[in-house]
């Protein structure tokens, strides 16, 4: 291939942007990658609406209604959907709230947590509806490829993206797999 640039979209749902930071950790190799890819919607360019893409990279689990809309738009538009990181694959750290009552959780964070004065739970209609549990991505849409890690190492992003650019089915060996 390589006569046409691979079109890639990325997003962070209930994640911490650590996976995106790890992607950027490929360092100067990003210049080489830039010759073969172009970004669609991604927080890296601040484009908010996704169009048809070759690859969608999803960081983070699904914790609210907006996450579902974004995720479904990614699935509709992306030929290959790649879930990256512990949160996308398992719910991860955000899912540790899954056995805490949502209201208790909000009160702890916004009202009673350390250092808060006159706190109140945000209640703007603009805010997306939170779910009582955080879910991994594969419980909502079909996922084509999962990259484990918290975050997945930069070399794993590099291996998979270079495979995709070359038109190969991505493979990676065990040394690039860590769940932590």
């Amino acid at each position: 291939m390589a006569d046409r640039k691979l079109r890639i979209a990325t997003c962070s749902l209930a994640g911490c942007f650590g996976c995106h930071m790890s992607l950027l950790d490929i360092d100067e190799r990003i210049l080489e990658l830039a010759q073969h890819i172009t970004f669609d919607r991604t927080p890296l360019n601040d484009v908010k609406k996704i169009g048809p893409c070759d690859v969608g990279i999803v960081e983070g689990g699904v914790c609210n209604a907006e996450n579902v809309h974004v995720l479904k738009a990614f699935r509709r538009n992306c030929r290959i959907l790649v879930a990256v990181g512990a949160c996308a694959l398992t719910g991860g750290v955000p899912a540790m709230r899954n056995n805490v009552d949502l209201w208790d959780c909000f009160q702890e964070v916004y009202q009673y947590g350390g250092g808060i004065e006159d706190g109140q739970v945000p209640n703007d209609p603009e805010l997306p509806l939170p779910f009582d549990k955080v879910h991994p991505v594969h419980e909502v849409v079909r996922v084509d490829l999962s990259l484990p890690g918290c975050p997945p190492p930069a070399d794993l992003f590099w291996k998979v993206l270079t495979d995709l650019v070359a038109g190969r089915t991505p493979t990676f060996d065990r040394t690039l797999v860590h769940y932590d």
Binding site: A83, A86, L89, T90, G91, G92, V93, A95, M96, N98, N99, K133, H135, P136, H138, E139, L145, S146, L147, P148, C150, R174, V177, H178, Y179, D180
Partner: protein, 243 residues
């Protein structure tokens, strides 16, 4: 020595009378993934991760005695897929947040999952409500990560002579219980150096204060695959027994 053998994926494996397929395989340097088996402890046969095909029938290699001439298969795509499904089920039926777990890198469930090539569980997660017992001054019991292997039950009963743990309930309600009227670990005679504390393959029973003495990235299974570690562990146990 009787000079008896069976075949494992076509290769002859010697065994001595009374040895299991698992023991003979490990002695021959072949790793069969396992979680509830531990050299030196009584056999349990509950996790089924060690399942192999013996003359065409699936059986747990840790509880099946080796017999002359049996044909055992372990490296087949069908068994690999079944093992992966079993391990994925263990992940989704508990709460395993590896990035936030003190055991990460030293955990056998995680290391077995690496070995069998699990990127992520394919199943829906249960996110069960499980409790944590921090009542003991030196030991913490986090049931979120317990895989019900009963190694701590065997260790406490057979090695420590204390009987601190048992499995209570059935099926999805099965859980690790503590033998004290209060049900709390702090009301038992468990000590931090007990075999029952050391033996837990996952981060369910942990010594307090030890968690981050070794940095993530430099832990046992960060440096060596579980196959090599398990084969060496089995060799040490054989040497210990020979005295």
């Amino acid at each position: 020595m009787s000079g008896r053998t069976f075949t494992l994926d076509g290769q002859p494996v010697p065994f001595t009378e009374g040895e299991t397929v698992m023991e003979a395989a490990l002695a021959a340097g072949v790793y069969i993934p396992h979680l509830c088996y531990r050299p030196g402890y009584g056999h349990h046969g509950s996790c089924k991760v060690c399942t192999v095909a013996i003359d065409g029938h699936n059986a747990a290699s840790c509880t099946t005695r080796a017999r002359e001439g049996m044909a055992v298969e372990t490296a087949t795509p069908e068994l690999a897929d079944m093992r992966r499904a079993l391990v994925e089920m263990l992940f989704v039926e508990g709460n395993h947040t590896c990035p936030a777990c003190e055991k990460s890198g030293e955990c056998e469930l995680q290391a077995v999952a690496y070995h069998i090539g699990m990127a992520a569980p394919r199943f829906d997660f249960f996110f069960p409500a499980r409790d944590l017992d921090a009542s003991h001054p030196d030991v913490i019991l986090d049931r979120n990560r317990c895989i019900l292997c009963e190694l701590c039950v065997r260790a406490s009963r057979d090695v420590d002579g204390k009987n601190v743990f048992a499995i209570g309930g059935r099926g999805i309600r099965a859980r690790l219980i503590v033998n004290a009227a209060s049900g709390r670990l702090g009301d038992t005679d468990l000590a931090k150096d007990d075999a029952a504390v050391r033996v837990c393959p996952v981060g369910a029973i942990l010594r307090k204060g030890d968690a981050y003495t070794k940095p993530v990235g430099q832990r046992t299974f960060d440096l060596r695959p579980i196959a090599a570690v398990a084969i060496e562990e089995a060799r040490r146990e054989r040497e210990r027994r020979r005295g």
